[in-house]
Amino acid sequence: MLDPKIPARPLQPSPDRAHILLPLELRRLTYAANGKRVIDDLDLTIAERGITVIMGPNGAGKSVLLRLMHGLIAPTSGEILWGGHSMGREIARRQAMVFQKPVLLRRSAKANIWHALGLRGIDRGEREARVIEALKLAALEGRASIPARILSGGEQQRLSLARALSLEPEVLFLDEPTASLDPASTLSIEGLLIDARHRGIKIIVVTHDVGQARRLAQDIVFLHHGRIAEHQLSESFFAAPQSEAARAFLAGGLVL
């Protein structure tokens, strides 16, 4: 049961807040590691709200692109603009990210969320309320005091997503969040993402799973060899992919 003294509060930012950071513009973006251009002179504009899915074969640069957008790594050259502003600390604070393998601290489920809110400077009273709300969202109220790292794989990823959402981000990145989860856990993660989208959070998710892309995407960015092979609304992408690479990928072929 929730403590009645703590007022229930909505987890969402006001519906328009995501618009402040949008559009996201990547201009002639290049990221090279060990002499290899993982992201190669890439141009992309994401103006749509809702869920953007980034797809592409292994090694296309999907994870790197996500990290560049979130500011975890710096581009070798080119520009990243959020709502016309250069990527920086202030913008990163309004974003959150969920990784493929959930990174949970060696503390209880509850303490993991508490810690993240503390890092963002949320004061204690507010923190308590947000922790409870986030645990409820992830259906983990009953597991609050359990060491996070002995939760099941699905629970760990739900916790990691709930932690990200508790920060009330305007933009949420996810890097193959369900790659190692069973169908039931995948479904609950997708449910949380659809909820979050309805609350106005811009979501950018990398996935390998074509079915997931169909279920979630508003628009699809198809990446190949560090470049955008195509960027389309979901329906048109799946109805008639324009690029050779995407056609082969969707047909279940091996894309090199």
């Binding site: 990290r67 975890l72 990174v103 601290l105 993240a116 890092l119 963002r120 060491p147 002995i150």
Partner: protein, 235 residues
């Protein structure tokens, strides 16, 4: 052989009756080493955590030095502190030579590299796993150090226990800077050395048994902490 058996019996009686002389030496040893370990750990946690997280010129050199000092012969630490505290030394005015404080200083110098190197290693291992997540959450470097130290708490406890084991068993440094003065700076190890050379095997044996017991207890605690941490997936 009969002498030895008798000495052994006397030793057990000294322990069993809580002989005041024996207890005095044991308590002084514990006081010195525990104090040294508390001070050294406080320094070493900050040092190890900072070395794992901050990037600065000379970081590699500091890390290498600390690792090398892990194997520092205690006698050398003793000699260093002796020179520091002797009447003609830079800190001679403090008149600390042949006091428990001198022994604490020497043991701090011995323990800091041990706990520091183990702390740095623990934090670096954790950072490899946490780095992107913590940066995504917007953690400052100081906040990252704090997070790593807390999440590495079980490894830090084992590091502290290792440091304590080294300090309590160490003889060379405390002998040099403490002087093995009865009731003042006579620790278990220096007393064992002295009593053995005087032929007072019984007291030496009794102290040896207590020291061995402490060493075993520290090891048992080490294993217990590791097992506990593993069970919570906190290792």
């Amino acid at each position: 052989m009969a002498d030895l058996t008798e000495a052994f019996h006397t030793a057990l009686r000294l322990i069993g009756t809580l002989d005041p002389k024996l207890i005095g030496i044991v308590l002084l040893s514990l006081k010195v080493s525990l104090t040294a370990v508390v001070i050294a750990s406080t320094i070493a946690f900050g040092l190890g955590g900072a070395l794992a997280v901050y990037r600065f010129p000379g970081r590699g050199a500091v890390t290498a030095t600390i690792s090398a000092l892990m194997g520092l012969p205690p006698v050398i630490a003793g000699l260093f502190v002796y020179l520091l505290l002797s009447n003609t030394g830079p800190l001679g005015v403090l008149q600390l030579l042949y006091t428990p404080m001198a022994m604490i200083i020497a043991q701090v110098i011995i323990v800091v590299p041990i706990v520091g190197a183990l702390t740095r290693q623990a934090c670096e291992d954790l950072l490899e796993e946490y780095d992107e997540q913590l940066r995504s959450l917007g953690a400052s470097s100081t906040a990252i150090v704090r997070t790593l130290l807390w999440d590495g708490r079980y490894r830090l406890i084992t590091a502290v226990l290792a440091g304590f084991g080294r300090a309590i068993a160490e003889v060379g440094a405390v002998m040099i800077v403490g002087g093995n003065i009865d009731h003042v700076t006579r620790t278990m190890t220096t007393a064992i050395a002295l009593e053995t050379s005087k032929g007072n095997i019984a007291l030496a044996l009794a102290l040896g048994i207590v020291l061995l017991g402490i060493a075993l207890a520290v090891n048992a605690a080490l294993m217990g902490v590791r097992r506990f941490a593993l069970r919570l997936a906190y290792a």
